[in-house]
């Protein structure tokens, strides 16, 4: 957003909000993770209909309609009155990817949930966050019945940079989701420290 989108005189100090994105393929466990760890809230957003969307959304008789409503995973964790963590589930389908840049604005980092049965589904998310330079961690959701993978095997399969943390998790378990969030925040701190350590120029 441009600075003129904001008002100068802002009487009361705003609370600090930390935004974390939850990405991953369709059905990888994004909704489960958000609801395990946060106070989940309904959030709808209006999006432009793409051609494939028109086939799905029946707009016959309302030809002027060019948007559709999309439900997003949205959760909040209130740490203190003046400090709140927001979780935004990024849309899994290709047709909503144009939303990502807006969602990514000002985010602290991202969690990419990977399902080892469909590891390739997480490639686009990994690609996106690698290009954006945003800190992200890969959380391998250990579904019942799915073959257990070692984190190192997942790192190799996804061709991740050495520093990107890969953790196993169970998206249904609050403690497990909490550990993933802590890993991400610690990684973001480490990236800040590393950036400070490099001389400017």
């Amino acid at each position: 957003m441009h600075s003129e989108d904001y008002d100068q005189d802002h009487a009361e100090a705003s609370p600090v909000s930390i935004k974390i994105l939850i990405a991953g393929g369709f059905g990888a466990g994004k909704t489960t993770l958000v609801s395990s760890i946060s106070e989940i809230r309904p959030l709808r957003t209006e999006e432009t209909l793409s051609e494939p969307g028109i086939l799905v959304d029946d707009v016959e008789g309302v030809e002027a309609k060019s948007t559709t409503t999309v439900a997003m995973d949205f959760g909040r964790i209130t740490i203190r009155d003046d400090l709140v963590v927001y979780l935004f589930g990024t849309p899994g389908q290709h047709r909503f990817w144009f939303m990502w840049d807006e969602l990514a604005l000002g985010a602290l980092g991202a969690i990419v949930i990977a399902d080892t049965r469909r590891l390739a589904d997480s490639f686009p998310s990994v690609d996106y966050f690698e290009r954006s330079g945003m800190p992200f961690v890969v959380a391998v959701n250990c579904f019942e019945g799915a073959k257990m993978f070692r984190p190192e095997a997942v790192r190799t399969a996804l061709d991740l940079d050495g520093g990107v943390p890969v953790v196993l998790c169970d998206a249904r378990q609050r403690a497990s989701c909490r550990d993933v969030l802590v890993t991400l925040v610690e990684y973001a701190i480490q990236m800040l420290d590393d950036a400070d350590a490099v001389p400017a120029g």
């Binding site: 008002d7 005189d9 705003s14 600090v16 949205f74």
Partner: protein, 73 residues
């Protein structure tokens, strides 16, 4: 000029600075619709729109606070 019922609700919800996503969720309206309501209200001087506080992203101390608080969840 009269306010829409949703705008009255916005005034009630915005006694403290409130993220747009929270408003959209509380009002059960799509984010795009809430933006339009807010834009009208801002033109009439009823609300101000503040820049999101970004200090947390640049300040390791805030992030360490967040990590500690998350560990206690």
């Amino acid at each position: 000029m009269l306010l829409e019922p949703e705008q009255v609700q916005v005034l009630r919800l915005c006694r403290r600075p409130t993220p747009v996503a929270d408003l959209a969720s509380d009002l059960d309206l799509p984010v795009g619709v809430v933006r339009i309501l807010l834009s009208d209200m801002r033109e009439r001087g009823l609300i101000t729109i503040g820049k999101p506080v970004r200090t947390g992203l640049a300040d390791p101390r805030v992030l360490k606070d967040v990590a500690d608080a998350l560990r206690r969840l």
